[in-house]
Symmetry: C2
Subunit: 358 residues, 2 copies
Amino acid sequence: MFHDEKNDILFGRGATDDKGPILGWLNVIEAHNKLGWELPVNLVVCFEGMEESGSLGLDELVAKEANNYFKNVDQCTISDNYWLGTTKPVLTYGLRGCNYYQIIIEGPGADLHSGIFGGIIAEPMTDLVKVMSTLVDTKGKIQIPGVYDMVAPLTEREDQLYDAIDFSLGELNAASGSETSLHDNKKDILKHRWRYPSLSLHGIEGAFSGAGAKTVIPAKVVGKFSIRTVPNIDSKKLDELVFKHINEEFAKLQSPNKFKVELIHDGNYWVSDPFNESFTAASKATQDVWNVVPDFTREGGSIPITLTFEKELGVDVLLLPMGRGDDGAHSINEKLDVSNYINGCKTLGGYLHYFSKA
Amino acid sequence: MFHDEKNDILFGRGATDDKGPILGWLNVIEAHNKLGWELPVNLVVCFEGMEESGSLGLDELVAKEANNYFKNVDQCTISDNYWLGTTKPVLTYGLRGCNYYQIIIEGPGADLHSGIFGGIIAEPMTDLVKVMSTLVDTKGKIQIPGVYDMVAPLTEREDQLYDAIDFSLGELNAASGSETSLHDNKKDILKHRWRYPSLSLHGIEGAFSGAGAKTVIPAKVVGKFSIRTVPNIDSKKLDELVFKHINEEFAKLQSPNKFKVELIHDGNYWVSDPFNESFTAASKATQDVWNVVPDFTREGGSIPITLTFEKELGVDVLLLPMGRGDDGAHSINEKLDVSNYINGCKTLGGYLHYFSKA
């Protein structure tokens, strides 16, 4: 880890994701030891450093140790996320899930020459593009009937949570490197990132994907897309709606080609109660350290282990971050501001004390 | 070249495309020399062996030598194609052209994570798939207004040419390795292969094209498609119709993404008069050798040099093949039946004699 003393920033692979937060918890324990203080809670720790490589074996370990090492745990806290922006601390209470699908269309036995077969063969690419074009509109609205019926209604209390959040359209534009936002105000942007589903078309396997001009008729094409899921979308019910819609759209084409749609993988959304004891304790600690009420945020992506802890231990989970939104997580120049590191340690310690009094 | 004596077939790279036909013309000259006969016509020969590598420099050479080496040539004959099937000789009088286009749609400055940006960014893939889905229907009918208005009407005389041609739906199914033909009878299949335009969607550059499930929002995608052109489609006018249609379809989307459509390359169709002196001479020679009236065929693909000779020398071109449709041109086990080789040589020689008397 390199300390840029001029700007008071720590640089290094994994500085913010997740070396800093891991050391933060160790610092809290060390400080209590040196001061001769009892920790205010019984702390059961789980240090794991391969989240970005799929946390192989962790799910099984948590399940196996639920009634041993993790027995009687009351609350789970994970420090593996970041602030939304660069100036205001956050507490994270939700993550979207992701169901990933593929549409497989097969025609001829091998790729064909479009000069010889164009116009006389039903082309799988034509079918696939037609079907994929029915999934989502250019405003980002999912066109598969029934999906939005499952989305939890927005309550007034939840709506108000978005008011205070420190975020702007300008920040989205800066992050995307464009002015192609589908929404023009903070609240709509955040709601569509966090609490509404979205559908992205990722690409096509089997078709020509190089530069230049290849006159091929691809024999077998596989269209990939995924849906980000939110409360209260039932994953299995979503699959059914997706399959039904795509089967109907393909049937309309009256194509002689072979067709299949399947789920590649799914992962459920997670959402917690931002008003529970744990979040309240973390909020108080944040106010003590940073002199500001933290934003209550969700994430659009997923941290799958969150759900595992919640489910296997039967406890609430809090995501308590240390770094900033511009730390460049996963990049070669990952950073962690020293102020975030020091104040982050203080927040973790304060959180334990407030939680013990709740 | 390996001679399979049991089946009397020559095997070897380029056996039919194009070593056999090249040697065939040399054999004709050698036979006349050995017999002490004058060739019945003044023969100007051009041997070129890199058609499959783009015939680099040949266009320029033909243009440069049009009034020198090729001066006063009356007729051009090329042996670079094959029979339609395996039993009946053909003479080829037409080739489709090919205009190749790409649609470029750009949104964010870099590829984005669909968890974080899905639902809040206008995705280029969504736009592209919508636009590509408007180009052709699943029956192979081009949906760009005005294209079919340019197609030459089918005359009764041309229609009758298809009656005699030796071809079947079964042969198409065998060639495509499927039962996905868009037409159920010989004449419709051949007309759509040879005399009607077709549009193929080849693929997308820039999107996810691998196996598995990558949750990317591609920042820039390039859709590729081509239109096979036929008489009397004007290539420039076709470009205008394509650009107009695609611009209108993109405008309908009201997308904030950047958009461009462009021609990558074009090559005109070619068609000759199958009733002219050259085709008549070749037909007589074929009848003498094979005891059957040849089929008059076109090809769905293109042999670009055909147009160059026609244009630069100002002469008619005849495509006079030697091999069969199942020779596996371009494959590692390319073949040429000895009967086709011997009878092919005879046909080339006979053609020169009949042509000299026309």
